[in-house]
Subunit: 345 residues, 4 copies
């Protein structure tokens, strides 16, 4: 930590700050300039809050120096993490892995058709929500356990891995037999109790960035899961809230290369939530892969105009096919590949 004192700070104020730093466990190096005194705290005490110093009398500004995350930092695994799944698929390697499917599981017919279309496009994961508490209490709330079973069944039929969102601790046990990857939604990115439990699970987790979360906060949330011993973690950029209203969110494409620099964890992108309009999803999927994403998470529905939820941002099946063809051409330009579909309708 660095504390820069005000020009007018008294020696008493300076001593008081030094004392508190020492008390917290810092070794303090003092630099006395002609105008300003600077205190460098060396060492990394377990407990300290840089904001505490910002309001101390005589302090101009205080800066935490060490990253507040450790296990998530790039230097912990400079070579990068590859998250491996049951059927040989892995995220973080050369393949750009696509996950697609409807927002919600609505019926066996709907999710089976979805799975077939997703598999035929060359995607590797089927996504679909079973628990769907929505912003309005009057909207469709999901099929629950029945939805999970359907996801597993149609995933197995089509050879797709299954990813679905977990929303509270009690759902973890329930979901374990049915999913290949837990998805933590944007609204739960700072549900630390849930994150801690997921750290104890031995199944991969995909953690979405919160709508108002800084990149550093994403990494702190990742730290919770890693600290429990679960290293099979994938991060996901899915748009942040800004003043622009034409798109549902503003997709922060730069978060992809920034995260790739700061952490060893794989990074995928969700252009469906990123923009919230299916007409903009293909361009943003292209941009994500061009910027270095390790994978994509996208909504597709056999009949988006009849979807129970998120229809506006769900691709038509033929749009997904066309997009996958384009991405298959794009990936090699950035040193990656997308395999041809192994499944045919």
């Amino acid at each position: 930590m660095i504390v820069a004192m005000q020009e007018a700070a008294t020696e008493e104020q300076i001593q008081s700050v030094i004392e508190r730093m020492v008390e917290l466990g810092f070794n303090v190096h003092r630099t006395t300039g002609a105008q300003q005194t600077i205190l460098a705290g060396v060492g990394t005490p377990a407990h300290f809050d840089v904001h505490e110093f910002q309001v101390c009398s005589g302090v101009h500004e205080a800066y935490r120096i060490s990253s507040p995350y450790k296990l998530a930092g790039r230097s912990f695994r400079p070579e990068g993490t590859i998250v491996r799944f049951a059927n040989g698929v892995s995220i973080g390697g050369d393949e750009v892995v696509v996950m697609a499917g409807p927002c919600s599981v609505e019926s066996r017919e709907q999710i089976l058709l979805s799975a077939q279309q997703v598999a035929a496009s060359g995607a590797k994961f089927l996504r679909g929500g079973a628990f769907k508490p929505r912003s309005s209490p009057y909207s469709f709330q999901g099929m629950g356990l029945e939805g999970l079973k359907l996801l597993r069944e149609v995933g197995d039929i089509t050879g797709l891995l299954v990813i679905s969102e977990v929303m509270e601790i009690s759902q973890i046990e329930l979901m374990l037999p049915y999913v290949d990857c837990f998805q933590v939604g944007a609204r739960n990115m700072q549900n630390f109790n849930l994150l801690r439990e997921l750290g104890y699970v031995r199944k991969p987790v995909l953690l979405k960035r919160g709508i108002a979360a800084t990149i550093e906060e994403v990494l702190l949330s990742a730290e919770y899961i890693l600290a429990g011993g679960n290293y099979d973690l994938v991060l996901c950029e899915r748009g942040i809230r800004t003043f622009e209203t034409y798109t549902r969110n503003t997709m922060d494409i730069s978060a992809i290369p920034v995260l790739k620099k700061l952490t060893h964890l794989p990074v995928v992108a969700d252009p469906s939530h990123g923009v919230g309009r299916r007409d903009m999803v293909p361009a943003m999927a292209f941009a994500s892969v061009a910027a270095g994403a390790d994978g994509l998470l996208m909504e597709m529905h056999p009949n988006p105009e009849k979807a129970f939820s998120d229809g506006a941002q769900s691709l038509f099946p033929q749009q997904l096919d066309k997009l996958m063809d384009g991405l298959r051409a794009l990936a090699p330009v950035v040193g990656r590949y997308i395999a041809k579909p192994a499944y045919a309708l």
Copy 2:
């Protein structure tokens, strides 16, 4: 719902939109202008997503018209809601109710002293966190059940009501015997499962605005609680995230009068989280009451510089005293009052 077609929309596109609106349960009134066709959907179907229409071909823009919340709307109780507590205190009436206390319960000694100081200032509620999962997994995480018991004990000693944060469904039962009001934190504002359960509880709830939540989203979250039958609900503005970094958040004081207009629920303000710096808390507390807040939620610590958490935004006891004196003078200017302290140190 209103759908404005593009100038170049074809009759086929218009018919397709009308068909979908009718299918959803709208009666459609068509206005054909020289340049543009406008479709007004009358009626309020249970299920519809305005975004679906925004991406239909031929559509220029679509607007939901009816509020997506009903029980939370002002028109549901034009006279306003007053939330009444055990000892005669009520929020939403003429009194401006102050809630104060430390971020976390740290020890019996600390919370007892806090309660005494809070009571002596004239505040009516003791706040304090028992469950404190923090953004870093390496920070202090709270005293749990032991903390709840201490809150109750010292609350009873000093005649204060107790408010504490609930973070997951499993904590509700645990907390019920000890708190007078459940607090839902900003990060859980859209934890809809938790909100739904709190709707079934017969104890007041204080719901904080999420860091990136619009005012409409606050009201939708309130609707979840009201829909369960719990009408003893208080809303709380506590700052939103913007580009400004000098303050921890940007406190949206205008949300106070806006909420007072849109809903019948009482509205309190949390200047501590709103600005995150104790030197700015008094000015923001003043501003909140001047703008019509029904109460204040503030952090105070007997020794903020030694606080386990949020010390930077916690008032010194003597600051709280002085602030309460100022607020007691201010309240009558806006037709409210703050009672003199009934407790003395």
Copy 3:
């Protein structure tokens, strides 16, 4: 400046950073910790860009320490600045000074009536725009020089000072004979050429915060004007752009006490632009004064529903009267006053 090196930084990288710091004119103090090296640059070179260091190889983070503004800083005039006007009115003293009037001068009749109503309410300044380039090229663009003359005429009739917006350098000369204070609008807060010229003028300037400007950027813009020798400068908070859309902007009330702490310049608030809806203006005017504003800038129109521009946020004359009465009661609570009107209709 402080440069914190990465844990893995090589000695060569460290030396390269030190070299560059010395080249820029810093004296460098090196702190070598067990994990991390920290370089403190003492001295304040005229030219340096902290971002340059943030992308140097081996650098973890770099922090500018010294404020980039000097003349605007509180320590330059700890006692505060009072800006004095022709007729004895001053901003920054004990009086809360109110400036009111229509968005635009529309006709002699309209501006005369406005001035009479403004004066009768007890406000001290008449505001009104003569040059009104609007966001749409098809909207009303202002009366120009004719508008300025009318402002002066009716200001003199009613004993009000006149404030009006200057938008480009060429207008300064034109406006000088007619206004008592130049207003720089939010869109021009970083029009540095204009600011520099206003620094050479010997007439007070009111500088509005830009819609996306940080508080530090406001102070840097102030520095431009002060650097030219014009110390009669007043700052104005008028709302920033956030994700919230119910209000036109989000008024950052906390900017008022923050600016009062960081600078010696007086700070006024513009609730009309801050919220953009007349029904919320009174509450925000109250909040501004309660938070320590030295004055208010508000829109009022004799007939807001017929206003050429900004009618939605313009108060009715009787609303202004009532609001002034309320503010007159509020001001003493924060140690200020608002004089009774000296003019009667």
Copy 4:
């Protein structure tokens, strides 16, 4: 315009709104629902402000329906605009046009070397600032006219077109002989007087999005230039301000496909300002082209670590070369091309 009345609106309130709509020039169609009355205003009066209706008594919400821009709308030129330059280069066609160069012209030697490196990379435009008012009055302010002459000279030597920023009306005449394209910076996007004058010029203009400007506001500003008769207009996404601080701005890549949908004007991207860090520029340049950008504007400096301004975001010459090679491979995937360099060092 659509006005949705409140459920409780009285007939008198409804009549008053209808009256005002008719007065403004609308034909009003009334839809009386069981719960709510909706008024559709048909026709497009020159003067009206939708906000005026939002605060009328009895009104629930009001929506402008027609786009406030006309000439900038896609329907005005559905086939798209191609802006053609002197030497056969055109923006908006199949070629992705790259513009590169230093932030500021610093000396003849620096700008000549820059131009040679830019030309050798295959870029078509040399960018460089001659007028550089900076956020601090104490920073380097540019070489002025001398800088313009140097840009022209080295542009001619290397066969590059020249683009430079214009900051006020008086500079237009001065710059006309030296530049091939005027650049309007983010801070001037709503300097409507300047935009209007540029509408009368017969030379292409590149208009950057403001740091807090919505996409609609970009198009309204474009409208100012088009309304003057200058159709040689290129738009530029360059990042918006959000809460994220790791990058200087958050580059809104989705603005590229959105603008391509809403307007006929070409759209280029400036990843240098978009992220503000050279290590992220290549990924964002890739993303921009993948998302459909018609060109790129980037900062490159022969020696970024010695640059007078914006060094942190300026590419090294060899980085630009490598990036251009990558982009040349990427462009065909999205149906575009980048020509090989015609100039060799």
